[in-house]
């Protein structure tokens, strides 16, 4: 199989990930649940993982790194902390349902900072126009999960700091690929999955809480292994948001995934993914009957590429690719807003997304299959 669906989940992982997960099953219980070696080894592993993440994303304090089930869980925590029922939020035109559905559940008044695909300047302008003194939070994806469009989060963060509005960054597609310094940006929260660009296993996610932020609202209450006589959840992180037993095999795997990213270097991973995607985009442009959503030179884009067949259905094309051993994602990718912004809501797209493990040879083989299918 040629796996080009890494924007959903990176399928190939560094071998150390599975090995660490197996070791965790054999040797670890849960952090904060005892003083015996199995609990303390779990605690050491969890702390090492928090520390790596804090260092990678510009947080001074590993306690501000919260383990979640996935990025959606992390986004729910951030959004439901900042936006009250019926509150106001400004979001980009490229947000995932993981952002828009929690806002809908809060009956929030949502202002969409609409901007054309791949235009960073227009995105900043749109946020500037939409943020008002009544805005409770700005929520912005760093990279569109459909088009790989890199949103200008540095400029948007500066705008939020000037206007005094808390910023939530959805780093689902950026974590492990693009640099992100939460401390420097002054963001209130950043949410990310462990199972994409950080090469951890499914069932892992992270909420990074900015220093000195507001008390985070809990979604779950329960045991934390701390202040057990108190019936309210602890005020302090990460315990406040980590009720129940930790996913230690997941966290141990995530730690190895993060170590892989740091060994390879995010810049090198990003360069490689962009090279492969550029090769793919340029090749697909030569295929007749295919609309490719990319600027020349892949400006303002990561390793995520969407294409639309001018005739026929994206689902059918995806199925044909799957039958030839190429795994892609088709449809709306849980992000109808992004499709509305890019004008692909009616058709959906075929999304091809690479990881550090793809090769040029796989890209050439994929291009040959597209040529055959579209002929």
């Amino acid at each position: 199989m040629i796996y080009l669906d890494s924007a959903a989940t990176t399928f190939q992982k560094p071998p150390a990930v599975a090995a660490a997960m197996g070791r965790a099953l054999d040797t670890m219980s849960s952090p904060g649940r005892g003083g015996h070696p199995a609990a303390m080894l779990a605690a050491d592993t969890a702390f090492a993982c928090r520390s790596e993440l804090a260092e990678l994303f510009g947080l001074k304090n590993p306690e501000n790194v919260v383990f979640t089930l996935n990025a959606t869980h992390a986004l729910n925590l951030a959004i439901k902390t900042l936006v009250p029922l019926g509150g106001r939020a400004v979001i980009s035109g490229y947000e995932h349902n993981a952002v828009t559905r929690p806002l809908r559940a809060l009956e929030a008044q949502i202002s969409v900072a609409e901007s054309p695909l791949f235009s960073a300047a227009d995105a900043v302008r749109a946020f500037a126009e939409n943020i008002t003194p009544e805005t409770h939070a700005v929520i912005c994806t760093h990279v569109s999960n459909v088009f790989g469009f890199i949103l200008p989060v540095e400029e948007i963060a500066a705008l939020c700091r000037r206007r005094g509005v808390p910023l939530v960054i959805d780093a689902s597609q950026a974590a492990g690929v693009l640099p992100l310094d939460i401390g420097a940006l002054g963001a209130a929260f950043a949410a990310m999955p462990g199972h994409k660009g950080l090469y951890g296993p499914q069932g892992t996610g992270v909420l990074l809480c900015g220093e000195g932020g507001p008390p985070v609202r809990t979604l779950l209450e329960g045991g934390t292994g701390s202040v057990s006589l108190q019936q309210e959840m602890p005020e302090f992180l990460p315990d406040r948001l980590e009720a129940g037993t930790h996913n230690m095999p997941g966290i141990a795997g995530l730690l190895e995934g993060i170590r892989y990213v740091r060994e390879q270097g995010m810049e090198a991973i990003c360069r490689r993914e962009r090279e492969l995607t550029l090769l793919l985009a340029e090749g697909l442009r030569t295929v007749s009957g295919l609309r490719v959503h990319a600027l020349p030179g892949l400006r303002q884009q990561t390793g995520v590429l969407s294409v639309v067949p001018e005739k026929g259905d994206v689902e059918r094309l995806g199925q044909q690719l799957a039958e030839r051993g190429i795994a892609v994602r088709t449809g709306l990718h849980c992000a109808p807003l992004a499709h509305r912004s890019a004008g692909t809501l009616e058709t959906g797209t075929v999304r091809l997304s690479v990881s550090a493990f793809n090769t040029r040879r796989e890209i050439y083989e994929t291009l040959a299959v597209f040529q055959e299918l579209m002929a």
């Binding site: 952090p31 904060g32 005892g34 003083g35 303390m40 605690a43 050491d44 969890a46 702390f47 928090r50 520390s51 304090n61 590993p62 306690e63 934390t224 292994g225 701390s226 202040v227 057990s228 006589l229 108190q230 602890p234 302090f236 990460p238 315990d239």
Partner: protein, 83 residues
Amino acid sequence: MEHYLILARSITYAQRMQRALERSGIRCQIFRASRDLTDLGCAYVLRLTVEDLPEALKIIHQRGLGPVQIFLYQRGVYREVTP
């Protein structure tokens, strides 16, 4: 043997203090806090030698990790002390 215990509200907080101290060359171990040391329920403690406490407290305060509760073990019992 006499020693000090520094009470930590959680395992993560205890680890953060431990790493900060270890980076400055102060060795300490993390244990579960005995029930009589805290009226809030489960917690962890860092065990330190008597000699290391002054420097440890300096580091803890420099890193913004304080204030902390400290207990001295002497003649078979723990008692809270103010540094």
